[in-house]
């Protein structure tokens, strides 16, 4: 074990496992946990489909059904879709920008533990029949103090607090990593498109999530300490909740979709064996989506009778956001058209699946964007079909493509292609059989979230068909997990750059060592590994008795100084535990916040307090800014 391996290695055993700050170990854990939530929520959907398969069914009563769809929605949105995209980013972004870890490794660990405990809380309250039952957006007054008795909506509000704190910290981590820890020469104009997508998503998260945190805090104070935010009789307003929620709600669906655009922009050029067409246009499209997403939220409230002129503005904005997405699709098609013959490996199959499914979702989205049409389609099964087309088609398909694409990098072994094709075709056919009929059901007047329907309604046939489709999707997800389980050990060994891709992550070995790159490569273009003579230069001289990496300047990615990253530490896990206790305690008594804050403060101080050994090693290699600055200027002149 050379000194660098020794410095970056984690302690063995359970304590080592709990205190790792390696962004890859945490990233894998993050992805596995979010996929576990995906399966759990998927099983809830299966039960819902069984209940809806036949009219006047009695598989589950209304109370259980309400908990089923509320937990299905909340878990899929807050515990799977958004976090899984952050999870693959926290794994890939450091590798893609050419650095050794995220900017705040311990915050990264803390954010994972928080999400895990939030998810476990939701599963536990579901098991004890105390799960939220007012839908994933938990409209007031149904979730309010009078019509939401017991602790159900409080657990929903606390789930929001868990996942939003975790998401916000992940966003700050990604922004700082992308801005400050890029490899020398990787200017913003040479950033991989997935990293651009994650940067846009992180900024959206930064400014959207506070809105729902405030809304859930006001809801919990309304329910527990009798504030009057949403009480129409005392100056409050029921629409305030919808404004606050959807101001976050619409950017949220773009937290899920924009990273998927990034995934496609990484996979597609590799299979076309050609650089992306219109790189700048793609970046502009991503940033435009990020801005526009904040101006659309009222299209979720078209039916509340707001003034028509306002609604026309939001109709126009909602319809116009189809433009940047359309531009992305055109650029991808142009890349394929000017590339080489494409090999239909599993990752690319899922990308093709994305095109066929997502574009239907996008077009129905434009229909829902029109306030007049929305008055017929809103809160009907047409919307259920649309949201699944854009979420599963737009995000889960590229995500599965990403799993097949990066699995060799993460484990050093390939997923089986045959199982991959079974997985894809079962998913593609099952999905369309399950969700396309819902468009028709919506037009036939089937409202959303009904636990049963009379035979006279005429919806029985399509609902049965939809249930069959849903079980086909379940089968395909099972095939995927069997594939992953078998390939983890017995999968075909994969070379470092199995697809011949151009990203920096393929320059690191598979699976990459804890420090990713012993010598960080310099970058000269947008597709480093396709540059002749890569790497033109390599960084040497990073001290290896501390966990060090290179900080580069924001605007020109020139070396600036050496960052000494913190060692592994158990404190983030303990701080997450203390936060969990405080959050859950505050559901039962507001004093839980004050008393719960004490252990939390102690763990945070433990986390911050420098350790003697770590400080000693840092002092040994310390170079003060002024002494080092002369060296920086000299170095910059010498660069080729």
């Amino acid at each position: 074990m050379s000194r660098i391996d020794d410095t970056w290695a984690d302690k063995p055993g359970l304590v080592g496992w709990l205190s790792t700050v390696d962004h890859k170990r945490i990233g894998i854990r993050f992805v596995v946990t979010t996929l576990a939530f995906f399966v759990f929520a998927g099983l809830l959907a299966a039960v819902m489909r069984v209940q809806l398969a036949r009219p006047d069914n009695h598989v589950v009563g209304p109370d259980t059904y309400n908990q089923l769809f509320s937990v299905h929605g909340s878990m899929m949105m807050f515990l799977f879709a958004v976090p899984v995209m952050e999870a693959i980013a926290l794994y890939l972004v450091p590798l893609m920008v050419g650095t050794r870890n995220v900017a705040f490794p311990r915050l990264n660990a803390y954010s994972y533990w928080l999400l895990l405990f939030g998810g476990l809380m939701l599963i536990f309250v579901f098991v004890i029949d105390s799960a939220p039952d007012a839908g994933w957006f938990n409209y007031v007054p149904l979730s309010g103090p009078e019509f939401g008795p017991g602790k159900r909506s409080d657990f929903w509000a606390q789930l929001i607090t868990f996942t939003e704190v975790s998401g916000l910290i992940g966003a700050v981590n990604i922004i700082t990593t992308v801005f400050k820890l890029r490899a020398p020469g990787m200017t913003l104009a040479r950033l991989p498109l997935f990293v651009w997508a994650m940067l846009a998503t992180a900024f959206m998260i930064l400014f959207a999530m506070p809105s729902v945190m405030l809304a859930s805090t006001f809801l919990i104070t309304d329910r527990l300490v009798t504030t009057q935010f949403f009480n129409p009789a005392e100056g409050g307003d029921v629409l305030l909740w919808q404004h606050l929620f959807w101001f976050f709600g619409h950017p949220e669906v773009y937290f899920i979709f924009v990273p998927a655009l990034g995934v496609i922009s990484q996979i597609l050029p590799t299979f076309a064996r050609r650089r992306i067409v219109g790189y700048v246009a793609m970046v502009v499209a991503l940033v435009t989506i990020a801005f526009l997403s904040f101006g659309l939220w009222v299209h979720h409230m078209f039916a509340t009778g707001l003034p028509p002129l306002g609604m026309s503005f939001f109709t126009a904005a909602s319809i116009m956001i189809a433009l940047p997405t359309g531009l992305q699709i055109f650029c991808w098609i142009a890349t394929l058209a000017t590339g080489e013959k494409v090999r239909f490996a599993a990752p690319f199959l899922f990308i093709i699946g994305f095109f066929f499914i997502f574009i239907i979702g996008g077009l129905t989205g434009v229909m829902l964007g029109s306030s007049t049409l929305d008055s017929q389609l809103h809160d009907s099964y047409f919307v259920v079909a649309h949201l699944h087309y854009v979420l599963i088609g737009g995000a889960v398909f590229p995500l599965f493509g990403g799993f097949y694409y990066w699995f060799p990098k993460v484990t050093g072994r390939r997923l089986s292609e045959r199982a991959g094709r079974w997985n894809f075709w079962l998913f593609f056919i099952g999905f369309n059989v399950a969700f396309f009929p819902m468009h028709i059901l919506g037009l036939e007047g089937m409202p959303r979230r009904i636990y049963t329907y009379p035979a006279a309604a005429g919806w029985s046939g399509l609902n049965l068909l939809s249930t069959i489709g849903a079980f086909t999707v379940a089968l395909s997800v099972l095939v995927f997990f069997v594939n992953v389980w078998r390939s983890r050990r017995a999968g075909e060994l994969a070379p470092d750059n199995v697809w011949g891709a151009s990203g920096l992550e393929w320059a690191a070995p598979s699976p990459p060592p804890p420090y990713n790159f012993e010598r960080i490569p310099a970058v000269r273009s947008r597709d480093p590994l396709w540059e002749p003579g890569f790497p033109a230069a390599e960084v040497v001289g990073l001290p290896d008795i501390v966990r060090s990496t290179l900080v580069t300047r924001l605007h020109d990615a020139e070396p600036d100084h050496i960052a000494i990253l913190p060692d592994a530490s158990i404190w983030p896990f303990l701080a997450a535990l203390a936060t969990t206790i405080m959050f859950i305690w505050s559901v039962f008594t507001p004093w839980g916040l004050t008393w719960g804050a004490i252990p939390l403060t102690i763990t945070l101080i433990g986390w911050f307090w420098p350790k003697k050994d770590e400080t000693r090693r840092t002092c040994a290699v310390e170079v003060k800014p002024d002494a080092g600055d002369a060296r920086v200027h000299q170095l910059r002149e010498a660069l080729p």
Partner: protein
């Protein structure tokens, strides 16, 4: 970890589960709540050494949903007309303080509602089914803090009469029976 430990953990979890589970149950159909006999003692004064009857446990004292139904029925059946919204007391006596003219045990409140009381309390026996009377009993007990905070309902989406402590009017003298 000793082999017995998993069982203990599962036992603890299920106990915790039962605790949480009970409060959150939505029991729609009527429980087997016992109908209270006429011989419910109204006060603690006993003739001779007669043994006290075993206290009847209200079926809904630990069920948040039933108590919130009680809150709704308190408004619907116009109990608030005499006892004021939130039970603060108007023509009828206040239900939020610790003064109970006809006893505060669940079965005593049940019989007060069913049989009615002098000075204006009507008999609701034939008018309100037993399940709803038990819901009202539990709600009335939650008004005076007999039940834990986690079960008692919070504010209603209406004018808020539970003014903060600093602003509550002084409790009126209890009506002499």
């Amino acid at each position: 970890m000793s082999s017995r430990c998993p069982e203990l953990v599962v036992l603890a979890l299920s106990l915790l589960a039962l605790g949480g589970c009970e409060r959150e149950q939505r029991r729609f159909s009527e429980p087997g709540g016992s109908t209270v006999t006429v011989t419910t003692p109204l006060s603690d004064i006993r003739a001779g050494g007669v043994a006290v009857a075993t206290p009847v446990k209200a079926p809904y004292d630990d069920n948040a949903y039933a108590i919130s139904e009680g809150q709704r029925l308190f408004q619907w059946f116009n109990c608030a007309g005499c006892h004021a919204t939130g039970g603060g007391g108007a023509i009828g006596p206040a239900l939020t303080d610790d003064v109970w003219i006809y006893g505060k045990a669940p079965d005593q409140i049940f019989s007060t509602i069913v049989q009615g009381r002098p000075n204006g309390m009507p008999a609701f026996g034939a008018r309100i089914p037993n399940q709803q009377v038990w819901q009202l009993v539990s709600y009335v007990r939650s008004l005076s803090g007999e039940l834990p905070k986690t079960v008692s309902p919070s504010r209603a989406d209406a004018m808020y009469f539970g003014k903060p402590p600093a602003e509550r009017e002084p409790v009126t003298q209890p009506v002499q029976p």
